[in-house]
């Protein structure tokens, strides 16, 4: 087994544990490279099937290519696709692009609150109707008790503190200091009513591992990650107003890998193009304690 095999097989094991132990399970799909690898791993774990819905939190500010890509893959793989959104904040224009909120306030409203209320079923969810290809209001409001998320420990400090199976209380809050232990491939699969567990199958993957795996498995990824001729590409995908492309000539996966290993990116943090991380000393950590992924 090489190291990619080890990472892959551990992730598959975690997927199957989650599927067997959580009755109401969903997987967050942000359309980024990490959650797309996650989707691929899920199809491997369940032999071509995905026995739970995918959840996308749509801020309405995602780069348009991301939404097109999402719906194309959902149809192609026959995914049970659910979309959640903070409809009120968007209607009242309480957002950063509208000039009525800071970046962090905007993230909190459009991502954290939308995520928390979609998971617990408080807000309506829209579900793809595969006959029409359109999204319709879902009748089910059943809370998810297990949520699979594609976050990685090497992304930033607070994520390096995560467990594979990480408890969230009834308000989706994360108590970093009081996490139960996790060892010998045994995970937190028991939880109190009203709480849920975030499951992180690719926690120990690095950014480089993700790209190496994409290359090895020939996983389709959204074109925003590559230079289309303007000499720029996105390294990390988020909302348009807060995510900035980097200077890069990399036109494909192998060039991205070269850039990460020895080229211009080998010494620069991955989320350097994500503006909300910089607003105060621990912006992302505060968001994450409140329920952000």
């Amino acid at each position: 087994m090489n190291y990619l095999d080890k990472l892959e097989n551990k992730a598959i094991y975690i997927f199957r544990e989650a599927c067997s132990q959580f009755k109401s399970l969903g997987m967050l799909w942000s359309i980024g490279k990490d959650s797309t690898v996650l989707l691929w791993l899920a199809r491997k774990a369940f032999f071509g099937h995905i026995p739970f819905p995918l959840v996308h939190i749509d801020t309405s500010y995602k780069l348009p290519e991301m939404i097109t890509y999402r719906d194309r893959l959902a149809r192609e793989y026959g995914l049970d696709m659910i979309v959640g959104q903070n409809v009120d904040a968007l209607r009242d224009r309480q957002t950063f692009p509208d000039g009525n909120a800071t970046r962090l306030q905007c993230c909190k409203a459009l991502k954290t609150e939308a995520l928390v209320n979609t998971i617990n079923g408080t807000w309506p969810r829209r579900r793809m109707n595969h006959d029409t290809g359109q999204y319709e209001i879902d009748r089910s409001r059943e809370p998810f008790t297990g949520v699979i998320v594609g976050l990685r420990a090497d992304e930033e400090g607070s994520r390096s503190k995560e467990r594979y199976f990480s408890a969230r209380d009834n308000k989706s809050r994360w108590d970093v200091a009081e996490q139960p232990p996790e060892f010998w491939n045994q995970y937190k699969t028991d939880f109190a009513p009203g709480t849920h567990v975030r499951i992180h199958p690719i926690l120990d993957w690095t950014e480089l591992n993700i790209w190496e795996y994409i290359e090895r498995e020939k996983i389709p990824t959204v074109s925003l990650y590559y230079n289309q001729g303007q000499g720029t590409r996105y390294r990390s995908l988020g909302c348009g107003p807060c995510t900035f492309p980097i200077q890069s000539q990399a036109r494909g996966v192998s060039e991205v890998i070269a850039e990460l290993q020895t080229g211009q990116l080998s010494n620069i943090a991955e989320r350097s193009g994500r503006a909300q991380d910089k607003e105060d000393g621990g912006g992302l950590e505060d968001l994450r304690r409140g329920g952000y992924m």
């Binding site: 087994m1 090489n2 190291y3 990619l4 095999d5 080890k6 097989n9 551990k10 598959i12 094991y13 199957r16 544990e17 599927c19 067997s20 199809r43 491997k44 774990a45 369940f46 032999f47 071509g48 099937h49 026995p51 026959g78 420990a153 090497d154 930033e156 400090g157 607070s158 390096s160 503190k161 467990r163 970093v176 200091a177 996490q179 139960p180 232990p181 996790e182 060892f183 010998w184 045994q186 995970y187 937190k188 028991d190 939880f191 109190a192 120990d204 690095t206 480089l208 190496e212 290993q261 010494n267 620069i268 943090a269 991955e270 350097s272 000393g281 621990g282 950590e285």
Partner: protein, 601 residues
């Protein structure tokens, strides 16, 4: 393709400098992402604090405020040879569960000891946990050598003390390195300030660790995770899925599932896109296969070959465990027991010993507190398949869930045989037949004491145990206690006269008879004193197994400077203190409530 990643944990007592050493490793090898170093320096500037290497890891605000590592932060790092994932295990006692989480996935460990402070409580506790978790490659870093002027005698003394501690755990460190994280001595570059040291520096030692080998030459063990039958898109496969923990499996082989004992033959190995031409898979692979005959197997069963040694199936087992739960582990309470993919209810039937992992001293046998280590008999509510940890660790280790949280971990030492269950049943029947008009309580009130067995042992080549035992009997007798001393010879030449003197079987039978004598004497209400040479933990187990309902009433005492039998006694009395033995044992009996003490008020 890149090289392998080796998982490395850094452990040790709080403030002994683990994070500083990692920060130094990252900085001095230029494996730090630019953004990270800048962010930390900027944060220090803003809060007007001097930059420290440890801040690189203590990425969370809360941590920096408290100045201690809360969780097992992961960092990645690279040498010319390979990549490392470094897990920074918190040294604070409150966060032992995080240390365990971090350390359990490690293949090697660096254990940091502060040269100025020396070996502390968590230096020992972490050493114990590393060995419990199964990490065999441990290198000790004696840090902050700059604080002791780089003096060799300080280093040598710590090496001697800690090596002796590890020896008790049957662990040998791969090396001891004098370092200074703050000054960078012997981390990435050899220090000119410690020319008396010529062993490997930290960077060399890291590359000398060997990656964990996949256990493929062991019997096949695949705990069943799930059985899938997807009906979507016309998929008719029925797939048994799981991860191969040890061994290999191949298409065409006959497999058997335990505890059900059902058999079938592997028809194909399944994949994402349908049937594959894959014919076999080895340990570490998460696989799925179809069977040629449809049998009903469930999650929690263990698949193995019909031709290889089978796992045990039992519902009572003897286990060694550590406890991290908020609430103490108690007898009689219901818990969840998870081993492999099995998940069953359990309770602790009895405690055999409870020890403090930082001192290796025995505690009272009432309950297991957070951070304690214990040996006990567990009773599962269902027949479960498992291995002994000594045979196949992968399927011999388990966790215990209390109040929705993993609260302890352990390994199976032995199956508690049906023979003992039968004896136990018979003994309980016998006890009811024995009932007399006088109850235990009445006897305790009459004699002003509760019966117990004081078992005094020493090395074979001295008589310290007899000296201590006789003077204890004399002391208790003269103070009006109902006591009786039995030397082993009393039994050897009487009750056991028909037994030959040597052999394992004979030895066990001899102890069984001793236990029967003790049963009678304890039932009569006596404080029984027995001296026996070189009592081992196994001897203790025979005694405990046969002393029904009184296993907790054995008090073990070792007399002599060094414990040579592996026994973990309640009291350890050194040779020079043998004259104090009667008084110390008496005080211990008072503390445990076997005899009473006047309170001065």
């Amino acid at each position: 393709m890149q090289e392998e990643i080796l998982n490395l944990v850094i452990a040790g007592h709080v403030d002994h400098g683990k994070s500083t050493i990692i920060g130094r490793l990252l900085a001095d090898t230029n494996t730090l992402p630019e953004g990270k170093l800048e962010a930390v320096r900027e944060n220090c500037r803003r809060t007007a604090r001097p930059f420290e290497y440890a801040f690189l890891l203590d990425a969370l605000k809360e941590e920096q405020a408290q100045g201690i590592t809360i969780d097992a932060a992961r960092t990645f790092f690279k040498t010319d040879l390979r990549k490392y994932m470094i897990i920074d295990a918190p040294g604070h006692i409150e966060f032992l569960k995080n240390m365990v989480t971090g350390a359990s996935s490690a293949e090697a460990a660096l254990l940091v000891i502060d040269a100025a402070e020396g070996v502390r409580e968590n230096s020992r506790r972490h050493g114990f946990m590393l060995s419990f978790l199964g990490i065999r490659q441990i290198c000790v870093l004696v840090n902050k050598m700059d604080m002791v002027d780089y003096r060799q005698p300080v280093f040598d003394a710590i090496v001697a003390e800690y090596r002796a501690f590890l020896k008790q755990l049957d662990v040998e460190a791969v090396g001891f390195i004098p370092v200074s994280g703050r000054e960078g001595d012997n981390i990435v570059a050899r220090s000119a300030r410690m020319d008396w040291y010529d062993g490997p520096i930290v960077l060399d030692q890291l590359d000398a660790f060997t990656p964990e080998a996949r256990p493929e030459n062991k019997p096949l063990r695949m705990p069943v995770q799930d059985v899938y039958k997807f009906t979507a898109h016309g998929d008719t496969r029925r797939i048994v899925a799981g991860r191969i923990e040890t061994g290999r499996l191949r298409v065409g082989e006959e497999v058997v599932f335990y505890p059900s004992g059902k058999k079938s033959t592997i028809q194909s190995i399944a994949s994402m896109s349908g049937e594959t031409d894959q014919r076999e898979a080895g340990s570490g692979w998460s696989v799925g296969f179809t069977l040629s005959e449809q049998i009903y197997v469930r999650r929690g069963e263990i698949a193995t070959h019909t031709t290889c040694p089978r796992p045990h199936t039992a519902s009572r087992l003897r286990a060694s465990l550590f406890w991290l739960g908020r609430e103490a582990l108690q007898k009689g309470k219901k818990y969840l027991f998870k081993l492999g993919t099995a998940r069953v209810e359990m309770e602790v039937e009895r405690f055999i010993r409870i020890i403090d992992a930082s001192t290796l001293e025995a505690r009272a046998l009432d309950q297991v507190e957070r951070n304690d280590v214990a040996e006990c008999i567990l009773k599962l509510d269902q027949l479960t398949a498992f291995d002994l940890a000594a045979d196949v660790p992968e399927t011999g280790r388990f966790v215990i869930v209390d109040n929705f949280e993993i609260s302890g971990g352990g390994m199976v030492l032995d199956v508690v045989e049906d023979r003992q269950a039968a004896i136990s049943a018979r003994a309980q029947e016998r006890n009811t037949r024995w009932q007399t008009a006088i109850s235990d309580e009445e006897r305790a009130e009459r004699y002003n004491q509760k019966p117990c067995l004081v078992l005094i042992s020493s090395q074979s080549n001295n008589d310290l145990r007899k000296t201590a035992a006789k003077s204890l009997e004399r002391k208790l007798f003269s103070e009006g206690k109902f006591t009786y001393y039995i030397g082993m010879a009393n039994i050897l030449y009487g009750l056991s006269a028909d037994l030959a003197r040597n052999g394992e079987e004979v030895h066990a039978e001899h102890f069984r008879r001793l236990a029967e004598v003790a049963n009678l004497m304890l039932d009569a209400g006596v404080i029984l004193v027995i001296s026996a040479r070189h009592i081992s933990q196994r001897d203790m187990e025979i005694l405990q197994a046969d002393l029904i309902d009184r296993a907790a009433d054995i008090i073990t005492v070792w007399v002599g400077d060094e414990i040579t039998s592996g026994l973990i006694p309640h009291l350890h009395i050194r040779a020079a203190e043998v004259d104090d033995a009667p008084e110390r044992i008496k005080r211990y009996l008072q503390e445990r409530g076997y005899i009473f003490r006047y309170r001065e008020s």
